[in-house]
Structures are given as C-alpha cells and as structure tokens.
Subunit: 244 residues, 2 copies
C-alpha cells in the first residue's frame, strides 16, 4: 500500500509464504520465487550450466510420468535425502553440473517451490532467485522499472528464515527512492542486515537447517549460500523454466 | 516442529498473520492475540481499569446491535479516526479510563483483532497481549508450562511489523531451554533485539505507522508503546474478554 503523498512509487514487497499470495494482485508484479534450500538454488545452477529447461512438479508421480515422454528428460526426485529408485538424481545442486544437464530438460520434484510457482503464474513475469544469482537478478529487476513481489516458498505454507533473508538481500540491492517497501520487505531487509556478515551462521539456528542437517546435506547448504556464482535468470514460460 | 533429539520441549511459536492460523492445531496451545495499534492495547487498558468485560466485534453494525440490549453497554466504533455518530467513543486507549469503563461492558469494533480471536477460539486459552501488560503476561505464560502461540492480528490478513516486534518481546522474556522456537519466533525475537532500544523509532518506518499518523493519532501510538503500565491479563470466556 502506497501511503505517501509523493507520486506513486514502484512497489517492492515480500510475500512471506505461499499462503499469502492470494492477498496480492500478482498481475501487477514481476514475481521472484525463492526456495533457497534447495529448489531455486538448483534451478539457477542448472540453467546456468546449460539445461534447456527445468520443469518443476509437486509430486514424485508427476515426475515419473515424464519417463514415458522420452529419454531427453532427466528426472530428479528425492525423499528423505535419498534419490528415489528409478530416478536419475535427487535435488542436490551438485547434480546440476554442465556435464549432467547441458542440453537436457530436467523434471524436478519440489513441493514448496512448485506450489509458489503455481499460485504466481498470472504475474507479469515469474523469475527464479537464489543467492547464486543474487546480483544478476537484482540488476535485472532494477532495469525493469516495475513492481516486484518476492515470494518466499517457505515450508509447508508457513514462514521460514532462509527464504526471507534472501528476499532481504534483494531488498538491500534494490532499496532506494524508486521503491515503496511494505512491512514484510522492511523486516526482510532488517533480517538480512543482521545476518549478512555471516549468512551460514545466521541460518544455522533455524528449524529448517536443523532438519537438513539430519538429511546429511550440509554440503548442499553451503553450496546454496554462495553469492553470485551464476548470472543466468530462469524465467517461467508455460510450464517450463528457461534462461531469460 | 520439534526437530531436536533431546526430550520434547514446550513450543513457543509465532503465527505472523491470521491467514496462517489454520496451519496450527490451536487446541495444543495457549494463544496470545496481538493487535498493538490499537485493539489489544485498548483492551488491556480497559480491563485494567475495571471494565467488567470487553466484547470485540468485527462490524460497526454488530456493535450498534448492542444498543438495544441495554444501557449497560458502551459502544466503541470509529472510522477514519472519528467516532461513528451515535456511538459512545472510538478505539483510542484514552477512552478506556476507569472513569469511563469501570463496571461497564464495552463493545469494541476491531476488524483484524476480532478475526484473529475468532480463528483461535479452540485454543486451550485465549489471552490478550500488548506492550502495556508485557511482563505480567510473560510471567503468567511461563507459569503455565504449556505451548504458546503468539498470534499477530496483522493488517488485512497480512504481516505487520508492530505486532511481530511485540511477539518478539514476549519471546525475549520467555526464551530459554524450556521452549523450542519456530522460525517465526526466532525472526520476531531478532526484530525485537534490533528495535528494543527505541521501539517508537523502530516502528516509525512501518507502513501502518504512516497510515495512523494520517489519522492524527500519534498520541495513541505513543501510549500503546508504553511497557508494563498494566498487569491485568484479559482472557476470552465465551464471546467476552474478562480479567483472568
């Protein structure tokens, strides 16, 4: 809500969980989907490494259905930290190297990320963000001169810290006179300021990080928190995420 | 979610907006309703000052209906910062002095607060929090040795900073080995730490504060941010809030 008496500014807002997406008129925004551990990090890395497209689906069964569509699909599905039998790999970003994904279409099973994408598809554009492409994404957003809604995929429709802190990192790069921030954007920016000197340490206290540790994917976590390893910006076209 | 391997702790969680209440099994918690500007502040002040009960309703029409029930009801309704014609007073905490409310039942129109209360009524207990009764409330919560869910009434079902910062103040008083915090409680606690040296200044940058300034109720805001002015804890019994 723009309440200032100066001319209307562009909106820079943060939707803290997919459950809150219906509160926004997504048609008015460029939407950035954020699912740091690990879907949007793996997507950014895969598109950077030459994957022709990445198709996010919610269920292992939907993923498996692509097997019949042809051998050009790589199927990624994991449960409890292990690759599901019959699938090509799991959700680790280390599976998304050029050697493995270049020229391929990857079908990725991701519950929270797919949910957020599905609810946002009416937006002007839907793009994918992670610490890996932070600066490239932020620079592109600034160039668009449009309203930006940063959508945190969260955890089972609820808030999580890692997605919010990343939203705060984007707010930090974009914030300035051009944008009117909502309360969630202000709060996310503050959390990023608190954590930015050591993001891994700041996130180590979250419940999600604890859960991921049990899955023995600490290396994935460290990988997902690297800043500006990539420059590609994945964008949603139909059902597929492709390079912008 | 309790993910530690030590024995199960009590839960201390923050529900950032009423839209997220359905994600919780409220039956498992004592719920604290938080609507700092101004409903829960006025309620704490009114109960402290001897109001027999306060009945929160969502609509001005519901409030008006109490006029026919008898002269013992005081009706509080306001739109755009002005008392609605035919009502006894508005939503300012300054209307809830002992002189005005002692021995009376006040019917209070409050959209966000009533919504949060209604969705929480299946909880073990529903109590009311504000900076006015912060320490008294926190001490009582500690004594209960039970799960605590701090519900931010927010703004039109979305996040706001002032309710979250107050939730963080309760987290600050309760946090310790006894409780397992969720991500929202951790984040709220961090925001409180950022703002606690000067809460009014920290909240001055929020969108809601800007809106309230336009209503010329800066004095109400300052009043609502006073810590420990009261000790009464309002509790929901049926449709009424009464002194615990």
């Amino acid at each position: 809500m723009n309440t200032s008496s100066t001319p209307a500014k562009l909106k820079l807002e943060v939707c803290l969980t997919p459950a809150l997406i219906p509160l926004y008129t997504v048609q008015d925004y460029i939407v950035v989907i954020i699912d740091i551990f690990r879907a949007t990090s793996s997507i950014c890395y895969g598109i950077e490494n030459g994957a022709e497209a990445i198709i996010p689906v919610a269920l292992v069964e939907e993923c498996a259905a692509y097997r019949e569509k042809g051998t050009e699909y790589l199927l990624a599905a994991e449960r409890d930290g292990k690759v599901v039998e019959g699938f090509d790999f799991g959700n680790s970003p280390f599976s998304y190297t050029a050697e493995k994904v270049s020229g391929k279409t990857v079908v990725l099973t991701t519950t929270n990320g797919t949910h957020a994408l599905h609810l946002s598809r009416a937006a002007k554009k839907v793009v994918i963000g992670s610490f890996l492409n932070l600066t490239s994404l932020s620079n592109w957003l600034k160039q668009q001169q449009d309203n930006v809604l940063l959508v945190c995929a969260g955890w089972k429709n609820n808030f999580n810290i890692e997605d919010t802190v990343f939203a705060g990192a984007v707010v930090d790069q974009l914030a300035g006179d051009a944008y009117q921030l909502d309360d969630a954007a202000i709060a996310a920016g503050d959390m990023y300021q608190l954590g930015k000197s050591n993001i891994p340490a700041y996130l180590a206290k979250t419940s999600h990080s604890e859960r991921l540790k049990k899955l023995k994917i600490e290396e994935d976590i460290a990988f997902c928190l690297q800043q500006d390893l990539t420059t590609a910006i994945p964008v949603l076209v139909g059902e597929k995420l492709v390079k912008l």
